[in-house]
Symmetry: C2
């Protein structure tokens, strides 16, 4: 392998943001990313981090991929891990970095006795879905993701509180 997997640090924040943005473009939401590199540093690498990361680093020191994850809680199973983002930059696909990052997250969950790892995938991303299913994951057809964004949250509160 021409890369290694290690924990992300504050110094990786810009590279992580670049990968977040590349993933948003891939997911056809190019304007969705509102977080800044300062936000990522404050939210992920301070005293009370909201997420953890693994990065894939090439031998020349460049970060070519990342996995970003955090804890959730299942009222059925107990503490779980949510894999928010898994991304390898387009020019570095096919060398195993994505699987290595995925494996690192799964191993973190296994070693720390988490009861489940969950994530979300777009239904047209069939390559990813096939990879996940081959790894032993289930991709559910009957659950829908619901979201109240901040603008509609404000409207709802103004009308109901």
């Amino acid at each position: 392998m021409n890369f290694t997997i290690r924990k992300g640090t504050e110094k990786d924040a810009q590279a992580i943001l670049n990968l977040i943005t590349e993933l948003a473009v891939f997911e056809k939401e190019p304007d969705a990313v509102e977080v800044s590199v300062e936000d990522l540093i404050a939210d992920g690498f301070g005293d009370n981090p909201r997420f953890k990361t693994f990065v894939a680093e090439e031998n020349d020191g460049s970060v070519i991929g990342m996995a970003l994850f955090y804890e959730r809680y299942s009222t059925w199973k107990g503490k779980t891990i949510h894999l928010e983002d898994l991304m390898v930059t387009a020019s570095k696909r096919g060398i195993g970095a994505g699987k290595a990052l995925y494996t690192a997250v799964m191993n973190y969950a296994f070693e720390n006795d988490y009861k489940r790892v969950a994530w979300e995938v777009l239904d047209w991303n069939t390559n990813a879905i096939q990879f996940y299913e081959n790894s032993g994951a289930a991709v559910f057809e009957d659950w829908r993701v619901a979201q109240m964004n901040q603008e509609n949250l404000r409207k709802f509160i103004n009308e109901n509180i």
Copy 2:
């Protein structure tokens, strides 16, 4: 209203577990609940709680509904709230307890500057979906929920580490 909304406490753990179990039956997964009341107390009401709750309490002191939620992190928006469970016991539907619990969670998110509230809903639960959409939430058709359970996690790790 014949009920009030308040924060859940350790003393509500059994009532919360009863509602979790009733919801699992409603969701056609009657055997899915593996957490115990002791787990809920340790995980939700200790020094470092993994979730927060609101409960709907009738004037006689009985808990007839609950909302259970916790923080997540969006790499697009920043800190968010995930509403894991929202449940009113079957005999107490239609008196507004569900909307009051939902509103309490939304208000918590709004007052604490969370960027989004997210949750999951079964595609056949059309009453719930209609309520959510009427409130201003989006229910997405194109995202799929993926999960690696602990048994398959163990297999994956044994094969790949």
